[in-house]
């Protein structure tokens, strides 16, 4: 039995970060399917690209710079799902 995990992707719609948000969301859908309880896409502004897995902020553009590595996010989800 695995715990359902919610992923939130907050992206700057003003900056045109939709492709990166959709690409990451698609990769997680394909990799984890129904093991995720939800993938939430939050359009924001101010140059944001943040990814939260459960309660953990695994990537923040302001904190870490740039876009996240998809493999790193998948690994964080794997840890949250399977422990």
């Amino acid at each position: 039995m695995t715990a359902p995990v919610r992923v939130r992707i907050t992206y700057c719609a003003d900056c045109g970060y939709e492709p990166q948000a959709l690409e990451l969301a698609g990769a997680l859908m394909r990799a984890f399917g129904q093991r995720l309880s939800a993938i939430e896409l939050i359009p924001w502004e101010e140059g944001t690209f943040d990814v939260r897995v459960g309660d953990t902020l695994v990537h923040s553009m302001a904190r870490d710079g740039g876009f996240p590595d998809t493999g790193m996010v998948e690994e964080a989800v794997k840890m949250a799902v399977f422990g």
Binding site: T10, C15, G16, E40, E45, D50, R52
Partner: protein, 213 residues
């Protein structure tokens, strides 16, 4: 812009072609055009020095929608600036010559050239003064609305209704600041054209002005 030649310049869209081709934010763009106010002294300053301006832009970018109309109105009222617009993602060779802080593909970029294709100045993204005042106003919004929590609270941790209200407040702030921000853009562009600086917009590390291509 090392890769800019007379021939390449002519391949860019004219200002009117760019506005017509916009698939997003065209209404906001045109509304911003109508807000631009230029003094006679401003227009005269631009008239004194005809220049070409190579522009990197995209219609999804808030800073393009805010700042390109200012340059467009200056060009129309002065008749002295020849504008050509290059879509950011379709012209990576041009974009990579004007990276913000040497790293970021920030737009708009306004690169000014004289008749001999010497680069006389570059404006990137938005004036630092605008960035600074926005940050200050953002702090004031949070101070006035304790329900928004700390300014450092990640947006995705805010309840949806609070997030929506915060977004409204930030939009209101931008609307209230628009006339002042437009004047700041005019002031910085005028300083470039008058030869008082080679830089406008986001502060950059020093780099020599490029010679003609």
């Amino acid at each position: 812009m090392g890769a800019i030649t007379a021939e390449r310049f002519q391949q860019g869209l004219t200002y009117d072609e760019f506005v017509s081709s916009m698939t997003r934010n065209q209404d906001r763009f045109i509304a911003n055009e109508e807000r631009v106010r230029l003094t006679k002294a401003d227009v005269d300053a631009f008239k004194r020095r005809p220049l070409r301006v190579a522009i990197l832009a995209a219609d999804w970018c808030g800073d393009v929608v805010a700042n390109l109309p200012v340059l467009g109105m200056i060009a129309k009222e002065s008749g002295a600036l020849d504008l050509r617009i290059f879509e950011r993602d379709a012209n990576p060779d041009l974009m990579d010559q004007y990276l913000n802080q040497g790293q970021f593909r920030s737009i708009p970029v306004f690169a000014f050239f004289d008749d001999a294709w010497n680069e006389v100045g570059v404006f990137i993204e938005r004036p630092d003064s605008v960035t600074g005042r926005r940050a200050q106003r953002r702090k004031e919004i949070f101070a006035k609305h304790p329900e928004f929590g700390s300014p450092d609270t990640p947006v995705d941790q805010l309840p949806e209704d609070v997030r929506a209200r915060l977004q409204q407040e930030l939009q209101k702030m931008r609307d209230e600041m628009a006339d002042w921000a437009n004047a700041e853009v005019v002031r910085e562009l005028r300083a470039i054209v008058e030869g008082r600086t080679t830089r406008g917009g986001a502060r950059q590390p020093d780099r020599p002005t490029q010679p003609a291509a």
